[in-house]
Amino acid sequence: MMVDPDVLNCLLPGVEKPARYTGNEWNSIRKDWSQARLRVALAYPDVYEVGMSNLGLAILYELLNGQAGTLAERVYTPWPDMDRAMRQQGIPLFSLESRHPLAEFDWLGFSLPYELNYSNVLSMLSLAGIPLLASQRVGSRTWPLIIGGGTCTYNAEPMADFFDLLVIGEGEEVILELAELFHSLGRDQVGGTSKAGFLQHASCIEGVYVPALYAAEYHADGRVKATVPALAGVPATIKKRIVRQLLPLPERPVVPYVEAIHDRAMIEIMRGCTRGCRFCQAGMIYRPVRERPMPEVLSLADKLIASTGHEEIALVSLSSADYSWIEPVVGELNRRHGQQRISVSLPSLRTDTFSVRLAQMIQQTRKSGLTFAPEAGSERLRAVINKGVTAADLLQTAEMAFSGGWQRIKLYFMLGLPTETLDDVLAIADLVHSVQSVGRRARGQPVQISVSVNTFVPKPQTPFQWLPLAATADVLERQAALRQQLRNKGIKLSWSDEDSTWLEAALARGDRRMSAVVLKAWQLGARFDAWNEWYRPELWRQAFAEQGLDPHFYSSRLRSREECLPWAHIDTGVSPTFLWDEYQRALRAESSVNCAEGCLDCGVRRSFGLAECPVPSVDQ
């Protein structure tokens, strides 16, 4: 039964930005509910404006709706005012397209991009009237299959109890294989008492992880002993899925009414990154590098402009300046669409003069300022994290930017990196001062520098996965030192919130027992933890305490090579040996070559049987 629009009309005038909940956007797809043999709700555990900026869900939305007999609709986390109003009125969480309650869908697929969204997953299930725990969704009644995908699935153990199935890696092909399995078994054979059978079949699809089919065993001190299949025939490790060549992107993406965080057309020009920065989870888990051929990028840009009316096209990837045809693509996009005042943006530039030249080709960025990410202050520490940027690179880049007309530069740094000392942190101040004087010289007047300093969170599946989060006292001391040094006029300093860093680290590195903490924190009232105005760390502290778990055990403990990590059964193709070797080289402050310069045998090439890596584009 669709949610009655008259009932909604009573509460929408009383909530902030009601158009978050009314759908009907340009290019949204409304398929016939009664004709669909598979109904999927694609969910994002954050507010509409954030969720609508996610390219992954947009890809699945167009892909699934392109299949005969399959319908996909969207849903985002209602803001707390709407959540409250819906609960008061007894309105269940519904999809934007047809306003059907989520409980009436066959599948509910969540994107899991960020640990601090976890409590919102529970809010959405609860508002939909769906039991939170996978173990509660059994018996005669059929509940939607709760599926998760995205970055956090590389260690989703803290969410294992809530999900029926997780897709590890790139979902474009897996989701269709799951749909095929669903159709072959028939809807009746998937829900209720037959759910277990479906999940067992599904677990044999490469990239599919059914948490309930694995059991975690623990040492007496709480470390994981092993995560092993609980049934015969279930694979011991779950290997991430990749697509060999990048598949076509949506040509008619939904254009939001409410302004999205990234309110623009997006073209993913490249997946993966050659750089090999040791702190970067995306750089490790999205291997191998695959590029979208230039003719496809250009023709997609034409189509997107015609189908959306966006005034900005973002060429997205982890390092867009590394895309083989970046300069000709930007030039050609300017030539074709500059007249219509459509601008191109490159959200991830390198710290080099080539990137400044690219930025100069894109007039739009001139207004907003340029952003570079040296990440660490000293040459030594940049070698530790394998960020191949020198102070000379940065100063040369800054000089070119300032003399090229920019008045403001933003610099990203991290604090609490492995082996970091106070000297490394003070080197950030020196570097910023040097950039400032370069700017003053180049422009003949004072310049603006924004310095953003985030605390480093060691993430799973990276060379730093064994390392602890830096101690809060050290971080605070180093922040204070930096503040002392960067008092000059023209420098703006900002920090990440120390009080959420520990939670992000604990959730990122947690094991399966933490599902109980997530549940407890949500029951205590945790909501929108990624939003400062809603985040209440004391609820999480209480939840850990009540479950008898110590967040520091997860966030702040140095782990040994021998320890079985909670995510050890998730295979990204990058070998643990490679990660460990990189970690050891980091401790010796040795940098490694990047994938464009030479192969370090990270394991991906062998694991996926690639003839060449980075994978050459079909056009070459």
Binding site: D6, N9, C10, L12, P13, K17, P18, A19, Y21, T22, N24, E25, W26, V255, Y257, V258, E259, D263, I305, A306, S307, T308, G309, H310, E311, Q340, R341, I342, K367
Partner: protein
């Protein structure tokens, strides 16, 4: 105003668009609606004139912002074009690109030298539809006492603080009718100009009927 419309020198045609903002888009804000129109015009490849300066925008001007949640059956905006387009062609181009809930009612060429659209608006007419159960007599009673009041002091929460004002002079007339389906309709003609703008929700609140309306529609923008 005349000078600003012509300063770029690029405007060769000025088209007055009358459009409806229907139920499906009633909750999008005025700023959202501006973006919607910019995108419609870009998709339709309408040759817009652009403003000068640091952050050039396509030159389109709405007569008046519509409150969130209120539909409009005769909203207006002026488009400034940089090259001429025949109206039937324009109607076709735009019509194909309008999202559900937005409809074209009329297009009209107007002289480039006309004063700006917002400066011409003097009043707006709203129709409020109540639930079937609403009693006409009760409504008439409330309306009569509102109209009889010499002043109606109210205060509104604004971003810059609470603003006090008198609602009474902004209410030009109120009258009641019945739809064919038997629904009670309250019509309001409210002042809308530089001196003050009467809001339909404020009138409803003053009548003690806030929240009981099923729908509010702006049916006319009265120009000078």
């Amino acid at each position: 105003m005349i000078a600003s419309a012509l300063e770029s020198g690029a405007v060769v045609q000025r088209v007055r668009v009358v459009f409806a903002k229907g139920d499906q888009v009633r909750y999008i804000s005025h700023l959202d609606l501006l973006r919607v129109w910019e995108r419609v015009l870009r998709r339709a490849r309408v040759p817009m004139a652009w403003s000068q300066g640091f952050n050039p925008r396509p030159r389109l001007f709405f007569a008046a912002a519509l409150p969130v949640g209120v539909t409009g059956s005769a909203e207006m905006l002026d488009l400034m074009l940089a090259s001429p387009v025949e109206l039937p062609v324009l109607q076709h181009l735009i019509g194909d690109q309008l999202p559900p809930g937005l409809h074209l009612c009329a297009l009209e060429d107007v002289p480039l030298t006309l004063p700006s659209l917002p400066s011409r608006v003097v009043a707006a007419v709203y129709e409020v539809i109540f639930a079937e159960s609403a009693s006409v007599d009760d409504l008439q009673c409330r309306v009569d006492s509102l109209l009889a009041a010499p002043s109606l002091p109210r205060s509104r929460q604004r971003p810059d603080g609470v603003r006090s004002y008198d609602l009474r002079p902004l209410v030009q007339s109120l009258w009641i009718s019945k739809t064919d389906a038997g629904r009670t309709v309250l019509h309001m003609r409210l002042q809308m100009d530089q001196q003050g703008t009467g809001r339909p929700d404020e009138v409803l609140a003053e009548l003690g009927l806030w929240g009981s309306a099923q729908s509010i529609e702006r049916v006319e923008l009265v120009l000078q």
